[in-house]
Amino acid sequence: MSNHSAQIAHKHRDDVGSRMGMWLFLFTELLLFGGLFLIYAVYRHEYIAQFRVAAMELNTTIGALNTIILLTSSLTVALSIAALQKGNKILSILLLIMTNILAFAFMINKYFEWSAKIHHGIYPGSEHLLNLPNGQILFYGLYYIMTGLHGLHVIIGLVFLTTVLAFIITGSVNKNNYVKLENAGLYWHLVDLIWIFLFPLFYLIQ
């Protein structure tokens, strides 16, 4: 970091190191999902026709809406970082709250989407599902696992962003020391990125 006064104030601080640590961590998250993408690829290859049939059942509108929500939230968190760097604390806080609200909206959508499916008897182990051909069972199984794990990451991201929000309000994350906000932002971009892959794989390829 170029800011000298800040470095003197915190002699153990290493922003480049913190960012590096975060990138490495994100890398492990990608690999975690990578395993699932691999399994998806294997089974999609094995059951092309049935995956297509099952995918028709998913609600593309909700999926698209959620994609827009997440993309917007990525934008707001990026703007929030920029605002803090420029010293505009209030704007930064507002944008971060926005991000949180959008994340929340994503989860609400997800809730309605899942409960509609469950209402129709489509959930792992359900009688309805077990009567479908194998390829469709696997499709829905993967659908629940992958979007579920993604949803879990949205929640973790929410907690992360809210914590940093508190730090900004109390002032320990500020114009001269914003690496925590940057890292939260990076994490949030990853959550967004993974969704951008999940969306076509489940909702669009038909």
Partner: protein, 553 residues
């Protein structure tokens, strides 16, 4: 190396902590000092190791004669699973990086601490929680896990024992491993002392660095695999269940994509320790420094491509089996490079056979047997004959215990004076190393023959013709038990009432020998500047700390 470093601190890290509380148990449990964390890992790991050993000895007792001896078959299944889980996930995988990596990585780099001290403490706690979860899984309803440490599908879904909790513990332990890995990578990149270029880093640092990358890249895959097993158990999704269209072989692929690289997580740090000990006791710079450093990275890389040699008999295509067999041979090359370089370093060195060095000799002998029998397993044709027999059991004990396990002891004997400031009984330590050699081969060598004769692994009972060799092996387990008790006795009594050690008893020259024993809280009073190659023994002349009674002019 560190010319002009003056390290005269009044207080060692034992006397001065990072928390406000200067002493008491909390000053340890909440400490962010990498040295204290390393020692806490040492204590926990030593305890788990001992429990694992007891399980091993119990298994050997059961196998002393055909038929039932001391336990029933289900208990045996449980015990070999727990023995495997404890030894792999609680001892061998975290062992050297968590204890010695934590303690010595920053010291050898000339840093005050790791890059993320608080994260480091968190990793320790996550490790401990994972270990406690394993223990809890023994006692809650359902009974202890009986799948073997590989958790193979579909049995791990069908059995009614506590699989979910035990594998969740493995997930948690993996998380700890990832955090340690990313901490070390960042530390190496950010905190090297002035003058320490990558090619001036000690080889232990290199190998820990390569290991850290494997931890980061491989562990998430086992993480997701484990989560899938849990989901299968709770919801019956069908990913690995052929009845629902899934594929149990896919589980094996996912499992070994992690677990083969994991054997390099186990062995690479040990090889790093060997590369530290050999120059010190041969008083000679290491031969082929760059080749050793690079071969660590090569092992880390090629290690990813060979996982399916664990699955030759699982029903893969023949082409795939041949390719994986070939790749398995390739990965032996960088390991061999290291062994050649060690031997070349010893050639014409003035060897001082102190205990750490004797343990390294144990290692070279045992690990070579382990490695060569690995070729038998990597070769498609012979693998079919000895697959899942005692031959495999013998092989992996030679590699893991004879390899990494012995080096864990070597490292302990090498660095104990630095960590504790005390010296142990050298004579007893030497006897110990010899006893270990005898115990080890009595315990495990018969297993090669048993396996070759057709004794399958994980069996509770056996045919009468195996009885003699099984008996010899059991006797070996008693000598082994005695050896381990003696090691513990030697080190614990040194810690409690041993003689004070000088700062550099062996004449080592890497940075950790440039500071007092035990080191002060921030490792060095003045950040050292590095001007020498890591194993340049000419610097002994100018070093502040040298072995007793020696002068270098």
């Amino acid at each position: 190396m560190a010319n002009g470093t003056i390290a005269i601190s009044e207080k060692s890290f034992f006397e001065e902590g990072t928390t406000k509380k200067a002493n008491g148990i909390l000053s340890w449990l909440l400490s962010t000092d990498h040295k204290r964390i390393g020692i806490m890992y040492l204590f926990s790991i030593a305890i788990f190791f001992f429990v694992g050993v007891i399980f091993g000895v119990l298994m050997r007792l059961e196998l002393i004669a055909p038929g039932r001896t001391i336990m029933d078959a289900q208990t045996y299944n449980t015990i070999f699973t727990l023995h495997g889980v404890i030894m792999i996930f609680l001892f061998i995988v975290p062992g050297i990086p968590a204890v010695f990596g934590n303690f010595f990585l920053p010291l050898q780099l000339g840093a005050k601490d790791v890059a993320f001290p608080r994260l480091n403490l968190l990793s320790f706690w996550i490790y401990l929680i994972g270990a406690i979860l394993v223990l809890i899984s023994l006692f809650v309803k359902g009974g202890p896990i009986d799948t073997g440490w590989t958790f193979y599908m579909p049995y791990s879904v069908r059995t009614t024992t506590n699989v979910s909790l035990a594998i969740f513990a493995a997930f948690v332990l993996g998380f700890s491993s990832i955090l340690t890995g990313l901490n070390f990578v960042t530390t190496v990149h950010r905190l090297r002392a002035p003058g320490m270029t990558f090619f001036k880093m000690p080889l232990f640092v290199w190998s820990t660095y390569a290991t850290a990358w494997i931890q980061i890249i491989a562990t998430p895959v086992i993480g997701i695999t484990i989560l899938l097993v849990m989901l299968e158990r709770y919801f019956g999704v069908g990913i690995f269940d052929p009845a629902l269209g899934g594929d149990p072989i896919l589980f094996q692929h996912m499992f070994w994509i992690y677990s083969h690289p994991a054997v390099y997580i186990m062995i690479l740090p040990a090889m790093g320790v060997v590369s530290e000990i050999i120059p010190t006791f041969a008083r000679r710079t290491i031969f082929g420094y760059r080749a050793i450093a690079m071969s660590s990275l090569a092992i880390a890389f090629i290690g990813y491509l060979v996982w399916a040699h664990h699955m030759f008999t699982s029903g893969m295509s023949d082409t795939a089996a041949i390719i994986f067999s070939f790749l398995t041979f390739i990965v032996a090359l960088p390991s061999a490079i290291k062994v050649f370089n060690w031997v070349a370093t010893l050639y014409k060195g003035s060897i001082d056979p102190q205990p750490p060095f004797l343990w390294v000799m144990n290692f070279i002998f045992l690990f070579t047997i382990g490695g060569l029998t690995g070729l038998v397993l990597g070769t498609l044709a012979t693998n079919i004959h000895v697959h899942d027999t005692y031959f495999v059991v013998a092989h992996f004990h030679y590699v893991m215990f004879g390899g990494t396990g012995t080096i864990f002891f070597a490292a302990l004997y090498y660095w104990f004076p630095k960590m504790s400031g005390k010296m142990y009984n050298i004579k007893l330590a030497k006897i110990n190393a010899g006893l270990f050699f005898i115990a080890f081969n009595t315990l495990y060598f018969p297993k090669f023959i048993l396996g070759y004769m057709g004794m399958p692994r994980r069996y509770y009972d056996y045919l009468p013709e195996f009885a003699d060799l099984q008996l010899i092996s059991t006797i070996g387990s008693w000598i082994m038990f005695l050896t381990i008790i003696l090691i513990i006795y030697n080190l614990v009594s040194a810690m409690l009432s041993g003689e004070k050690s000088i700062a550099n008893p062996w004449g080592g020259v890497t940075l950790e020998w440039h500071t007092p024993s035990p080191p002060p809280l921030e490792n060095f009073d003045e950040i050292p500047t590095v001007t020498h190659e890591p194993y340049d023994f000419s610097q002994l002349k100018t070093m502040k700390y040298i072995p007793k009674g020696e002068t270098y002019e």
